[in-house]
């Protein structure tokens, strides 16, 4: 029986909760993550968290940060938006992200481009191969129609609702939310334009390298085309650590003419700003 009848008792009650472990929570310091990647020195970790099914998170990360998303069960769907942390009107542009590399499907080596001719992040690792840059995330209208509820506090939150909250935590408003990309639940386009749902490949990892200081918004909620009638999402794990941005010594720097110029633009921008 909890005793919260007096200030002292209430204080003791609140303090007694410390140290409780939950299925979804941040791990502080990041090096204390019980799920720290085996291939990363834990002392280098800067962000470690398990995002709840139907949850969201946001973080500002330094240029050169590696961010690894892990779909623990094969049912996560990471809806991601990226903004330049020094000028957030520069942000992910899905059209350029598909058009400039002449490739609609995200995978290792793919740049996540801003509309200003620069690489916000590079996909540097991918064991899934099932991602989507066409369908964005879900709206309240979509989830209400499909699941009967879309509220962030409800059983089937919409991606837009979650990203709107994540944006607000970083001082951004609804106008700052362009179309997003999603990882771990694949979609393909048929010859007539029809979408084919691939779904998940099972537990998998995707790794992004921040090429500029970034605001990262993540919503972990069902993909719009997920055909399952029940709202189905698994936990999403995030681990990030300090590394260096893509430079001339990296193979991907000159892997295509478009990517080469994108990295040149990004490095010039970073150096001019002293980033």
């Amino acid at each position: 029986m909890r005793n919260t009848a007096t200030l002292a008792a209430a204080r003791d009650d609140a303090r007694s909760q410390a140290g409780t472990l939950a299925d979804a929570m941040p791990y502080l310091p990041a090096s204390s993550s019980p799920f720290a990647p085996a291939d990363v020195d834990p002392s280098r970790l800067t962000w470690a968290e398990t995002v709840a099914p139907g949850g969201y998170t946001s973080k500002v990360v330094a240029r050169g940060t590696r961010i690894r998303f892990t779909d623990v069960t094969g049912d996560a769907c990471a809806h991601v938006l990226l903004f330049s942390a020094v000028a957030p009107w520069e942000r992910l542009n899905v059209a350029d992200t598909q058009k400039i590399p002449w490739q609609a499907y995200l995978g290792a080596g793919h740049p996540l481009l801003s509309g200003d001719g620069r690489v916000l992040a590079t996909v540097v690792g991918d064991t899934s191969g099932r991602h989507d840059a066409f369908c964005g995330t879900t709206s309240d209208a979509w989830n209400t129609r499909k699941y009967g509820d879309a509220a962030p506090e409800g059983p089937s939150p919409s991606g837009r609702g979650l990203l709107t909250l994540a944006a607000a935590k970083q001082g951004l408003g609804p106008r700052d939310l362009p179309p997003s990309v999603s990882f771990f639940q694949g979609v393909r386009v048929g010859a007539d334009g029809a979408f084919d749902w691939l779904g998940s490949t099972g537990p998998a990892e995707v790794e992004l390298l921040a090429e500029l200081p970034l605001i990262v918004l993540v919503a972990n909620t069902a993909h719009p085309l997920d055909p399952r009638p029940e709202f189905t999402v698994g936990p999403l794990r995030v681990h990030a650590w300090r590394d260096g941005p893509t430079g001339p010594a990296d193979e991907r720097f000159t892997s295509t003419p478009e990517l080469h110029r994108a990295y040149l633009n990004t490095i010039e921008h970073a150096e001019a700003r002293g980033l």
Binding site: A95, K99, I100, G136, D140, W142, P179, A194
Partner: protein, 222 residues
């Protein structure tokens, strides 16, 4: 230097109704207008294969705007055709395509801009005019800024997606006088960039004019 004769067909409205606005957009220039709910905007591809990059905003609340992913996910298809409902980021219908004289319309390819052109073609294109500049300039007349620019429609532009995910802008499937028409489902701010791009096939490397005709339906609704 060879001067190619440009065939222009100014055509006319694609649907019946009283003409309430009829304007010409110069090659490379921006344009905007508010189309009242129920009225139909016909865009005429006067010279053929001229990309009309287009953004839509609810005039009552301009933070509600055209959304490529919502439009595509809702219909389960990557292309825009007759019957496509053009939806906002909240899933609400902003407009419905009621007439279309090309096989399919693009909304994947987005807009060109000075900066993205440096990636596609090289840094020598940095100072060429782009659609993003047209959107910024025309949007500013309505209090809109870079925050309001999202992925757009490209009327008359051809962007196929191959089985392996390869996609890009290829030769157009439009021609002089071809038209598309959409009905506003709400009072709609329409912002258009008559694409200035001269490095890719979206306008045959030769920007040509557009004609914008707004019609109000006449007689009793069907």
């Amino acid at each position: 230097m060879t001067i190619t004769e440009t065939v222009l067909d100014w055509s006319g409205p694609l649907v019946d109704g009283e003409v309430v606005l009829d304007e010409r957009v110069a090659p490379r220039a921006p344009w905007s207008a508010v189309v009242a709910a129920g009225n139909v905007l016909t865009i005429v591809d006067v010279g053929g294969n001229q990309s009309a990059d287009c953004l839509l905003f609810s005039d009552a609340d301009r933070s509600e705007r055209y959304s490529v992913p919502d439009t595509l996910a809702w219909q389960g298809n990557a292309y825009v055709r007759t019957g496509t409902v053009l939806r906002s980021q909240h899933g609400n219908p902003l407009a419905t395509v009621v007439g279309n004289e090309v096989e399919r319309q693009d909304t994947i390819g987005g807009a060109c801009g000075k900066e993205s052109n440096t990636l596609r073609y090289g840094h020598h294109t940095e100072h060429q005019h782009g659609c993003r500049e047209n959107f910024l300039a025309e949007g500013a007349r309505h209090g809109l800024s870079a925050r309001d620019l999202v992925s757009n429609l490209n009327w008359f532009m051809n962007v196929p997606v191959e089985a392996d995910g390869t996609l890009g802008i290829v030769d157009g499937i439009s021609g002089p006088g071809k038209r598309v028409a959409f009905r506003a489902e709400v009072d709609l701010l329409v912002v258009v960039s008559n694409c200035p791009q001269v490095n890719n096939p979206c306008n045959d490397f030769n920007p040509t004019p557009l004609r914008m005709i707004v019609t109000a339906p006449t007689g009793a609704p069907a």
